[in-house]
């Protein structure tokens, strides 16, 4: 963990450093990244000048283009993955009660007897138009279902992030201020203990104490349409607490390590010699320079909060995206799995991109090649 600050900025630096040579290559490759293709068609020279003048805009455009390509690749991989799983929708849905006739009926009905490439292209044709089709199992519209589930997932993730990010950064700074003294050690031990326990276990502990024994918390955390906001908030209190405990340590330790790294540099020493208070130095001088690696870790944790919390959803009976996708994979409900997979991938890509851009904004040095 202590090596965080040293390795942390380096990849970011590397990415930014590589950006320009790579972008020059990319401009030569036509039509791959969509927005870039528009400008790329006008000519490599224009793109090169554009990159030089507006490095940030160029970077964003390029990343957007790449992410579209990445999403295609992801959809192909998900499709291939489902194909590779044993059994198709017809056999898994019917399960032990499958008769050859019933399997045949379903296969024909859904067109599973066609070759996979044809089925993929049909699906893709709908998806690019924003039509994700209907679930094979429930026959409900996938978009409508996902709309609800995604809303729930984001609701949970938002409040978990709202609490955990400031808390982690604040605790990280606090740990630096009291480095190697008692508060630092307490913060470290507690947050490491929390991250070391599996999330379902933390969940069960919280349920046991706050719902079963004290009876102060709402459980199960099921949310539904007719709930008021306060009811919803009270329902998600325990899952949010669990998620906060799970993601806290990672972000906190990274903040601490990154700031500590900056704290050893000459200008901080100068600030100290000027007679500034420790906390002021940390918050005003050290933190901005330590922001890049911290942002990356935060982005990863945010992505986790949206896409990786299926265990917490199950434990707290929370109707989020994770459970929806797992249910769909279980019966090979391809349209649902594809849509969920794409949304998850989009979140990862978007958050990572946002992290890179924020890092560059925070550190102007990264905008220009060395």
């Amino acid at each position: 963990m202590e090596s965080g600050p040293i390795t942390g900025p380096v990849p970011t630096d590397g990415v930014a450093g590589e950006t320009l040579p790579r972008s020059a290559d990319l401009s030569g490759v036509p039509a791959k990244p969509n927005p870039a293709a528009a400008s790329g068609a006008i000519g490599g020279a224009f793109w090169r000048r554009f990159v030089f003048r507006r490095p940030l805009v160029a970077l964003i455009l390029q990343r957007l283009g790449l992410s579209v390509g990445l999403l295609f690749a992801v959809s192909l991989m998900i499709f291939g993955g489902i194909e590779a799983l044993p059994g198709d929708f017809a056999t898994t849905y019917l399960g032990q009660s499958a008769t050859p006739q019933a399997v045949e009926n379903i296969r024909k009905d859904l067109g599973l007897d066609r070759p996979w490439s044809e089925r993929y292209l049909t699906w893709l044709g709908g998806a690019v138009k924003g039509d994700f089709g209907t679930s094979w199992a429930s026959k409900n519209s996938v978009s409508e279902q996902i709309g609800k589930r995604l809303g729930n997932s984001l609701f949970l993730a938002f409040f978990a992030a709202l609490i955990s990010v400031p808390l982690a950064v604040g605790l990280g700074m606090l740990a630096v201020q009291f480095r190697n003294r008692l508060p630092d050690k307490i913060i470290n031990v507690i947050s490491l203990a929390a991250i070391s326990l599996p999330e379902f276990f933390i969940g069960y502990l919280l349920i046991l104490f706050f719902a079963v024994q004290l009876g102060v918390a709402t459980f199960p955390a099921t949310v539904y349409d007719s709930m008021t906001l306060t009811e919803r908030l009270s329902a998600i209190a325990l899952p949010v607490a669990t998620l906060v405990l799970v993601v806290l340590a990672h972000m906190m330790r990274m903040t601490r390590a990154a700031i500590l790294n900056v704290m050893s540099s000459a200008y901080v020493e100068t600030a100290e010699l000027k007679g500034l208070g420790t906390f002021r130095i940390i918050a005003r001088h050290a933190a901005p320079n330590a922001v890049a690696p911290v942002i990356n870790v935060i982005a990863l944790n945010l992505a986790y909060l949206v896409v990786g919390v299926v265990v917490v959803e199950v434990v707290f009976v929370y109707p989020g995206m994770g459970q929806y996708m797992v249910d769909a994979v279980t019966v090979r409900d391809m349209p649902v799995v594809q849509a969920c997979g794409l949304i998850f991938a989009a979140f990862y890509i978007f958050l990572n991109m946002a992290a890179d851009i924020l890092a560059i904004l925070a550190n102007p040095r990264l905008r220009h090649p060395r």
Partner: protein, 529 residues
């Protein structure tokens, strides 16, 4: 157990409910001791039902992929949902298992039991205000028996040749005589829908005691009392809420914190812990589901009956009931029928663990080397442990079993009914005939032991048509002996259902028909303040 003598006329619908559960998830599963005291709802029946209140149930088995169409229902959760809003033509009696009238007021078979006439109840209203007619019934049955139907009841209704309305009555013509027909109509998929659900199968409109207020697949379902219910002996609470809780620990936490009144599927390992909670009552009911080790009778080395016999003798049934079912269950006797079935052939000697005899048969079979057993916890909860227990007990007989753990995903596609020796699970069937026809008839799709005997097939068909009960019982004894002594099924145990409720819940009926009071739990209980 002498209590079971009362049950001998039972013909109970116990069916497909558990199958899907075992496909997708290796969920924790409850099994219970069927003690006489809990088997009957004697004390509950003595109390005066109270009306009112909001009943909450936390149930395992829901998925986001759940369908609203009763024809396609496969999970425990949907089983209760359908029971709560819909009605069948015929129900099964909770303790005797006999067919009792529901939307069909009465019925009359022809002498050869090939033609059945059902009188449909008058003055029953659907939730949308329309009155139930015989046409709705005809359309419902047609929808479920259509060739292209995806109905879970399709197999049960195969023998129905013609469905028609005649002078306000329903007339069913069968392709062969079947004295069990009314019970077949108690399959939970067959709820009567307006116009048979042909217009809108997903409408969730029926004649049941509760109207569906909301339904979110895999999340929850809520119900309001149907004020126009045609029955007064059900639907005591004002509103019902079913919450999907697929995590066993979450269910237990929700029950012990009083957030829900009832939960299903309690892990046998935790029953004793849950019992200690002062507010909780454990509800156990015996069932017909059974855990099996299946050998293909036509595949070497299992085509040798001495090897099959050796393997049957090398399993320690008592230990398995104790260890795998936590003591909540009954030992099996290598045929798929227990004394909860009507016409149960009594007096068949119980097969016991006998390493010496097993060793004798093993030697006689001439087989050497390990026997490969494939298993997964998807087959039944604790299947891998059961396989290892089996391995140990067989070792004492000099039989080497090699246990191979298969991936749970796709187990029923790639292992069950494909590999020659594997673990599996069977839910029971309403009648002995159904059970044998489904899995032991030579040409049955699910003949997972490849048990192919012409004399067995002939006798089974003869028994189906036989009207003399004594003769029929005798035939079922012969059939049972064939399967027990020469079949490919090793049946160490029957599992029971374990549910739990808070002490507030009264009137729970221990229905031998199926789990959760045969799915009627929400309509039968009331809340004591």
């Amino acid at each position: 157990m002498s209590d079971y003598k009362d049950y001998l006329t039972r013909q109970v619908m116990l069916g497909k409910i558990n199958r899907r559960e075992f496909l997708g998830r290796a969920a924790a599963f409850g099994i219970a001791a069927s003690t006489a005291s809990t088997l009957f709802a004697v004390s509950a029946a003595a109390q005066e039902p109270k009306r009112g209140g909001h009943l909450k149930l936390g149930l395992e088995g829901a998925a986001a992929t759940d369908s609203k169409d009763p024809a396609k229902a496969l999970s425990q959760f949907l089983f209760v949902v359908i029971r709560t809003w819909g009605d069948l033509l015929v129900e099964s009696h909770p303790t005797t298992g006999a067919a009792v009238p529901a939307l069909a007021e009465s019925w009359e078979p022809s002498a050869d039991s090939m033609t059945w006439t059902f009188a449909i109840r008058k003055g029953v209203k659907f939730h949308d205000g329309k009155e139930l007619t015989v046409d709705d019934v005809v359309k419902t049955l047609q929808r479920h028996t259509d060739d292209k139907s995806e109905s879970g009841a399709l197999g049960v209704l195969k023998s129905i040749k013609e469905i028609k309305a005649d002078g306000g009555k329903l007339v069913l013509t069968l392709s062969e005589g079947n004295a069990d027909l009314p019970l077949l109509l108690s399959d939970y998929h067959l709820v009567i829908q307006p116009n048979g659900g042909m217009d809108n199968p997903d409408a969730m409109i029926g004649t049941g005691p509760y109207k569906v207020a909301s339904f979110e697949p895999g999340v929850r379902a809520t119900f309001e009392r149907n004020q126009d219910d045609w029955r007064t002996d059900r639907g005591y609470v004002d509103s019902v809420e079913l919450i999907a809780m697929n995590d066993a620990t979450a269910r237990i936490a929700a029950l012990s914190s009083g957030q829900v009144h009832f939960i299903n599927r309690i892990d046998p390992k935790t029953v004793s812990l849950l019992k200690r909670a002062p507010t909780v009552e454990i509800l156990t009911t015996s069932g017909r589901g059974h855990y099996v080790f299946i050998m293909h009778c036509n595949t070497a080395p299992f085509d040798n009956n001495d090897l099959r016999m050796a393997l049957k003798l090398a399993i320690d049934r008592e230990t398995m009931v104790q260890r795998i079912l936590g003591g909540y269950g009954k030992i099996g006797n290598d045929f798929p029928i227990n004394d909860t079935y009507a016409l149960f052939p009594e007096g068949i000697e119980q097969r016991v663990y006998d390493p010496d005899k097993a060793a004798f048969h093993y030697k006689k079979s001439g087989h050497s080397g390990p026997v490969l057993l494939r298993t997964s916890d998807v087959a039944f909860p604790g299947a891998v442990d059961a396989a290892v227990l089996y391995q140990e007990s067989a070792k004492k007989a000099g039989i080497e079993i090699e246990v191979k753990r298969e991936p749970g995903d796709g187990y029923y596609t790639n292992v069950w009914n494909v590999q020659p020796f594997s673990t599996s699970y069977w839910g029971g069937r309403p009648t002995q005939d159904q059970m044998y026809s489904t899995a032991y008839l030579s040409n049955a799709d699910w003949n997972d032991t490849r048990f192919q005997r012409e004399d067995f097939d002939k006798l089974l068909l003869k028994a189906r048509a036989e009207l003399d009960e004594a003769k029929r019982t005798d035939m079922y004894r012969t059939l049972a002996m064939m399967v027990r002594d020469e079949g490919g099924v090793i049946l160490p145990m029957f599992n029971d259902f374990v549910n739990a409720s808070t002490k507030q819940v009264k009137g729970y009926v221990h229905d031998i028909g199926n789990d959760m009071s045969n799915g009627y739990v929400a309509t039968r209980v009331w809340l004591d303040a």
